[in-house]
């Protein structure tokens, strides 16, 4: 077939456009050192020697520096242990940190690989044309920063500061957000909203008036019944939650897991509900039905705290377990007995809100159903349910008032997605290319700490935007795919080499956490605070960066809350005594943060915005014969696509595999560990083959892969070409009309056994 030909043709045509994808290693002679360093990097003995030399002999005296982890968003506090000759030997958890209790997860323990990775970005890079070809050349910081500042000043004059957008993840976001606000734009977008937790947050806000935040305020430690619906704790290594689930197991809590796949959590559950994918809302409605009609809900709690019960009761009257059976394939008895287990344990029951909830485009409604279940059981505000967080607010370091942008991302909504309270990245990307005869509203991007290519599943819009942008700056530690599209690459040092903002956690108790450099930055890399300050000064915004070193900011801030930099350097984590109760106090009416002060079983907000005030089940398309629903998820030793080149973590899991039920494999004649290519419903073929994993842990109508593999950027020497990239296979995106989230579970794949590209080339 000529699908691959078509792709090749598309690729060729793409090469002629104004922003070619440049492989960062494909540089001129000036970068020989970089190239040579990398090509040596295999699992051969040279690297082992290097790494052994790096880690020292084992008998060294170690000095420890406080840090908090940046490998994922949980931000566990720990200690980086450094040898006398200045190498990081290991990273361990801080026992005073309630987020990790002294135990880091594999990624945190393996964080040292992020520092040692030979493929790291090393110097600023500028896109130049050499012999008629676009390429990068190394630049000094002064040159790169001057270039960016001149460009940004020009753009401000020409299009207004609002034409710049920031895409962000993690700590660098703080400083760059500050810079962008000072510059005059309000267009900051994090994939964590529309591609991940946004639907959940909006669903819970619409019900309880607030979200479950991060780390989630789920009282798993003290729960008696934990219900996981598409949340795979243990494979998502959200450290505190994993630790608490283990405590819950020790305490004999009942775990109920709803998952089309026997997840690790499902394997530890009293009840596993192997649901047909995309039918979760039917199950949730049936559970609500049972709680109300079998008189199992928490009447006292609901009467005191919620409104809309009568409407809800009428709404779910026909959503019986028998009705749900035909949709979910779950037996009515199982639906009833699990509802009873939840009610027996209530209010110490948690229907876990989940985190990555961008599934089918009706995700706010699904998370609303989860929130309503929690409300009916009385778990919000009760021990073993969902507790009230308390945090500590650190004052901002004094700076002039930000200019008010003439418009923000909210003006891009055009009346759509009325409950979006953060910018959906997809919307900002769409606004970055001309449409309907209108010029693009966004003309420049700063992308920091997020590999948009593997994160946002809007390939066409993304490509269009790339060809229309005037400026694209990438701040990262690694040459991720997104760096290949940049005009300027600014290499950030890793979290182990820098100060960052104080971690302020709102959870069971407020805590402060310090990150300080354990070692000097490698090569020419710099902390993001320094990059933002340098750009700010060049943009005439020096008043917003009124300090020499970031330690001045940290010390000033810490002193406002009764600590100091010196104290935090010694202890790393400081716990602060809680002032409010984590639970609803008996006899005291609780005011929820909704408009009426009550839990919204019936949402007036959604009704007013023209949406179903109570969740309804919508039937979603199913795979055609020979196709299987693509489910994706996490592995405990990797974070998104950002750890796929970390030598320590690659050693644990070098590639993903596609999980296939043995019966399905029988039909296809697959052998164990055979490599196949994936093709989706739109003819998209995976760039690389992926190993088949025959396992009874997956349904016949679905396949599963771990997210974050299949990197196609050659400078990622360990990650390149390993496994399949799920984002590449997600071409059908179902946008949630309520908040703009990108539902990604409506894609179906089939298998190709022989190299599809080889075939067409011959």
């Amino acid at each position: 077939m000529c699908i691959s030909k078509y792709l090749i043709a598309k690729l060729k045509c793409y090469m002629k456009t104004r922003r070619d994808f440049i492989k960062i290693s494909a540089l001129g002679a000036g970068t020989l050192a970089l190239g040579a360093g990398i090509s040596r990097y295999t699992f051969g003995s040279t690297v082992l020697d290097d790494l052994l030399a790096m880690t020292g002999g084992g008998k060294e005296k170690l000095h420890r520096y406080p840090t908090y982890c940046e490998v994922c968003f949980w931000k566990c506090a720990g200690w980086a242990h450094v040898t006398e000759d200045g190498n990081i030997k290991k990273i361990t958890g801080n026992y005073d940190d309630p987020q990790c209790n002294g135990k880091l997860c594999p990624r945190g323990t393996g964080g040292v690989g992020m520092y040692n990775d030979p493929d790291r970005l090393k110097t600023p890079l500028l896109r130049v044309i050499k012999d008629g070809k676009q390429t990068y050349r190394e630049a000094s910081w002064d040159e790169a920063l001057d270039f960016v500042a001149t460009k940004m000043s020009d753009m401000k004059a020409k299009y207004g500061p609002e034409s710049m957008a920031l895409f962000m993840h993690g700590s660098p976001a703080n400083y760059l957000t500050h810079l962008m606000k000072a510059y005059g734009t309000g267009n900051m977008a994090a994939p964590s909203f529309a591609q991940c937790r946004g639907a959940r947050d909006v669903g819970f806000e619409a019900t309880f008036g607030e979200s479950v935040s991060s780390p989630e305020v789920t009282d798993i430690r003290d729960t008696r019944c934990l219900v996981l619906i598409g949340s795979h704790i243990g494979e998502n290594m959200h450290n505190g939650q994993v630790q608490e689930m283990s405590q819950a197991i020790d305490n004999g809590a009942v775990i109920i897991t709803v998952d089309p796949r026997l997840s690790t959590a499902a394997s530890k559950s009293k009840y596993w509900l192997p649901i047909k994918p995309s039918t979760d809302i039917a199950l949730l409605l049936a559970w609500i039905h049972v709680l109300i009609y079998d008189d199992l809900y928490n009447k006292e709690y609901v009467a005191a705290n919620a409104e809309g019960l009568e409407e809800l009761k009428a709404h779910v009257v026909s959503f019986t377990p028998e009705w749900a059976y035909g949709i979910t394939t779950l037996k009515p008895d199982l639906i009833r007995s699990t509802a009873r287990e939840m009610a027996n344990a209530a209010p110490s029951t948690i229907i876990h809100p989940g985190r990555h909830t961008a599934w089918y485009g009706d995700d706010v409604q699904r998370t609303r159903a989860i929130a309503i279940l929690n409300a009916l059981l009385g778990s919000w505000g009760n021990r073993g349910g969902i507790f009230f967080k308390e945090g500590i607010k650190i004052p901002e370091f004094p700076h002039p008032e930000y200019p008010k942008p003439a418009w923000t991302w909210k003006d891009l909504l055009n009346g759509n997605y009325p409950l979006a309270n953060e910018a959906p990245t997809n919307l900002v990307i769409e606004a970055s290319s001309p449409a309907g005869g209108q010029e693009a509203k966004i003309k420049g991007w700063v992308v920091a700490g997020t590999n948009l290519v593997s994160t946002v599943p809007l390939k066409e819009q993304f490509k269009k935007a790339l060809q229309s942008l005037d400026l694209l700056i990438v701040v990262d530690t690694m040459p991720m795919e997104i760096t290949g599209y940049a005009d300027v690459v600014l290499p950030e040092c890793t979290y182990l080499e820098r100060y960052d903002d104080i971690r302020t956690t709102a959870h069971r108790e407020p805590t402060l956490g310090l990150r300080m450099p354990a070692v000097d930055p490698k090569n020419q890399t710099k902390p993001a605070w320094w990059i933002a300050k340098q750009l700010g000064e060049r943009l005439g915004l020096a008043a917003f960066f009124n300090y020499k070193e970031y330690t001045e900011v940290l010390d000033w801030q810490l002193k406002q809350v009764g600590s100091s930099l010196a104290e935090m350097q010694r202890i790393g984590v400081k716990k602060i005594a809680r002032k409010t109760s984590p639970y609803i106090e008996p006899g005291t009416p609780h005011i929820f943060k909704t408009a009426s002060g009550k839990i919204q079983l019936f949402s007036h907000e959604l009704a007013a915005a023209g949406f179903d005030p109570m969740p309804l089940f919508t039937k979603h398309p199913e795979p055609e014969e020979g196709f299987y629903r693509l489910i994706y998820g996490r592995a405990p030793m990797h974070t998104f696509s950002r750890t796929a080149n970390n030598p320590n973590l690659v050693a644990l899991m070098p590639e993903n595999s596609v999980w296939v039920n043995p019966q399905v494999a029988g039909i296809w004649g697959f052998k164990k560990d055979q490599y196949v290519w994936l093709k989706n419903q739109d003819g998209e073929i995976s760039k690389f083959p992926v190993k088949v994993r025959l396992t009874e842990r997956i349904r016949w109508d679905s396949v599963y892969i771990v997210h974050g593999f299949g990197h196609h950027h050659k400078p990622l020497h360990l990650a390149y070409g390993r496994g399949a990239n799920d984002t590449e296979m997600i071409t059908n995106v179902m946008i949630d009309p309520i908040m703009g989230g990108t539902g990604m579970r409506g894609n179906f794949i089939t298998f190709i056994k022989d190299d599809p590209r080889k075939e067409t080339e011959s």
């Binding site: 082992l48 958890g93 880091l104 040292v112 630790q243 026997l262 690790t264 050693a651 043995p662 997956i698």
Partner: protein
Amino acid sequence: MRYAMAIDTRKCVGCSDCVVACQTENNVPIGFCRDWVSETVDGTYPNVSIELRSERCNHCDNSPCVRCCPTGASHFEDGGIVLVTHNKCIGCGACIESCPYEARYSHPDGYVDKCTFCIHRVRKGEKPACVSVCPTSCMYFGDLEDPNSEIVNVLKNRKFKALAPEAGTKPQIFYLV
């Protein structure tokens, strides 16, 4: 004194933190490991179950590796810990062949290496790196001859098994089931 480990398969999520912690603690070269995670799957969908296990040298009482070592490099230390003295090891690999648990590997520096129960930490009163890092706290390490130890307590109160008991090596890693 008899050191042993009990690992709770009901809590282990197979995250492999034990593996990385061991690697950084003991300078195990990347690409090799002294401990690893195994998964066994039983049944057919949807009546299926899995067991996840963190595995390592079993520090057997009746150790074929110690018996077959021609130089005495493989030996017992206090508490029954089986160790390899690197500079006495000639790298012949007899012990690797004799081990029913495939717990040993040839270190690129020419000797045979394996789990030491982190004897350097244990002697200081600390737990082995894998035990101390485990986010699920599914591992218990201690002295089987101390009736008040945590490990004796869990083994008294839980069902447990050892791997490949038929090999007759008297392994000292127990899996709580």
